[in-house]
């Protein structure tokens, strides 16, 4: 997964209550140097609470937390110099240009990056001398990322960095985040966009109702060798009973729609194509897909919601 395997973030049994509400109910996490780690979950799942504990903004009720070898609840200036943060909601100072704002933040750090280079990294070179009030929402957010980067941090927290972006602004932001990975930064990203996690993350953790439900590389969430789903419509005049025997055994039929679950879809497809040749050669609406991260996510989160309701009643 990572070159060195050195642990940057380590969380054991983290708990946080807001009065009666248990926002975080015993979370374990481990993030290694150089990883892009995505923290996924619906609104109210405990994502931002967890991130704000890791950033040192919020005290916790239980568990052990170590970020860059330090407990964030007791961290000082030296620690903050090594951590960059992009908060979920933050507007930049409207009266300053990106060049000025980045230079201002550079002054806070002992060994800052070059101002112009940082602006280039987030793709704002053309707008470097335009006041932030006249930048688009996406550009302001990228300026926000530049402010987090100019201190040359080892670790970056990005809390829902692309919420509210149009598709092209999101692609640009992804490019910036992928660049951070190439610079060897460790990135802790929260998002509720599955495609974002799939595109960027080395590893993801799915959180709902204050618990981590699954963790691993995006391609492995939900388990290995998950069955592919083959579906098509029966050609007119054909009957499901005429399907070849090995296919028929696994097929579920709803009207003219046939669905087959199969770990290795190729042999089934070969049989199907041969069968279809005898029925006019058409297999309309043919689809072969493996469950995406989103499918697993939705299933997990729905499961957690049911469990949560049960707990609420007992």
């Amino acid at each position: 997964m990572t070159a060195s395997g050195e642990t940057v973030i380590s969380v054991r049994g983290l708990r946080k209550n807001y009065g009666e509400l248990e926002a975080v109910r015993g979370i374990d996490l481990e993030v290694s140097r150089g990883e892009i780690f995505a923290f996924l979950g619906p609104n109210g799942a405990g994502k931002t609470t967890t991130v704000e504990i890791l950033e040192g903004y919020r005290p916790r009720n239980g568990g052990e937390v170590s970020v860059l070898g330090v407990d964030p609840a007791a961290a000082g200036r030296d620690w903050r110099a090594r951590v960059g943060m992009v908060l979920q909601e933050c507007r930049v100072t409207r009266q300053l240009t990106p060049r000025e704002a980045v230079a201002q933040y550079a002054g806070y750090y002992p060994a800052p990056r070059d101002v112009d280079e940082t602006i280039e990294l987030v793709g704002l070179t053309d707008k470097a001398d335009t006041r932030a009030a006249r930048l688009s929402g996406g550009q302001q957010r990228r300026l926000d990322v530049a402010l987090a980067l100019v201190g040359d941090p080892d670790l970056l927290f990005l809390d829902e960095p692309t919420t509210g972006f149009d598709p092209s602004a999101r692609r640009q932001a992804w490019e910036v985040i992928a660049n951070l990975g190439r610079l060897g930064k460790t990135v802790f990203l929260t998002t509720h966009y599955m495609d974002e996690a799939q595109a960027l993350a080395d590893r993801v953790a799915i959180i709902a109702a204050g618990r981590v439900l699954a963790e691993g590389p995006p391609s492995e969430i939900g388990g290995d060798g998950e069955a592919a789903r083959i579906s098509f419509r029966l050609p007119s005049g054909a009957d499901a009973s005429s399907l070849p025997a090995p296919v028929r055994a696994q097929a579920s039929v709803e009207g003219t729609r046939v669905m087959i679950r199969q770990a290795d879809p190729l042999p089934v497809l070969r049989e199907l194509i041969a069968w279809a040749a005898g029925h006019g050669g058409e297999l309309s609406g043919l689809e072969v897909r493996r469950p995406t991260l989103e499918d697993h996510y939705l299933a997990l989160v729905a499961g957690a919601r049911e469990t949560g309701t049960d707990e609420g009643e007992t």
Binding site: R77, R80, M85, C90, R91, V92, T93, Q95, L96, Y108
Partner: protein, 255 residues
């Protein structure tokens, strides 16, 4: 960066933001000057009854008091509330910039704008209406400004703790200071104000601050022009504001 360089760095950007914000420039620089011209225009430059000075000599220290309060209490409260609610203060807390350096930059900015307004209003008074400059009472002017800038800055930080959001900030600050300007003799000569009302005004710091500046501008004042009694009350209000700020000032949005 050394600590002094860090405060200077912060101050430099606070200055930029201040001068590029049309609202802060209007309310702190233009607005007081408009009041000065209106009052001297309306009341004419005759002697103010009971004050022993003419209208312009009365209103120069009055408008200076107003401008300093605008540069400190009002500007600080409005901008800090906006920055708290938009997450900017929270973001700054996540950097290695020490909170006291951030605050020192802000108060430094308020102080420099205040000094500029004292000089500007005094110069206009001298040039247009021959209001004599307080050369003999310069220690009084400097001391009053120092105590006032400190106290009214503390009150600006304290005021943010009762302002719920950025939209309410200008309304709340004006609701606090405007009535006090009227009853404290800043807008209306205090000879026109009933004694009972002045007694109420004396509970608050604005009238005492104005009285201290007035003494410094009054040609009949002898000596350094320092008003320890009035300034002690201004300072007490500042210390109370500081205590409230230390307890209740928040860097995170209220939402």
């Amino acid at each position: 960066m050394s600590t002094i360089a860090l405060v200077a760095h912060q101050f430099r950007y606070d200055q930029k933001v201040f001068w590029r914000n049309p609202a802060s420039v209007f309310f702190t620089v233009v607005f007081p000057l408009i009041f000065l011209f209106i009052f001297v225009g309306i009341f004419g430059n005759d002697e103010v009854e009971g004050a022993g000075v003419n209208t312009s000599t009365y209103y120069v220290p009055a408008i200076i008091s107003l401008a300093v309060i605008s540069a400190t209490t009002q500007s600080l409260a409005i901008r800090l509330t906006e920055e708290r609610e938009t997450g900017l203060l929270k973001r700054v807390r996540g950097t290695p910039l020490p909170p006291w350096a951030f605050i020192a930059g802000r108060v430094g900015n308020a102080l420099v704008v205040s000094i500029m307004m004292v000089v500007l209003v005094a110069a206009i008074g001298r040039l247009l209406w021959d209001v004599s400059l307080p050369t003999g009472t310069l220690p009084g002017v400097a001391f009053t400004l120092a105590v006032g800038a400190f106290a009214f800055s503390c009150l600006g930080f304290a005021l943010t703790t009762i302002i719920p959001n950025e939209d309410a900030a200008p309304a709340v600050t004006n609701a606090v200071v405007l009535p006090l300007y009227f009853v404290s003799g800043v807008f209306i000569p205090d000879s026109e104000i009933p004694e009972g009302v002045l007694q109420v005004a004396d509970l608050f710091p604005i009238r005492h601050f104005f009285e201290a500046f007035f003494t410094a501008w009054d040609p009949s004042t002898t000596g350094a022009g320092i008003e320890p009694g009035h300034l002690a009350i201004v300072l007490a209000w500042g210390v109370a504001g500081l205590a409230v700020s230390l307890r209740a000032f928040r860097w995170e949005p209220r939402r």
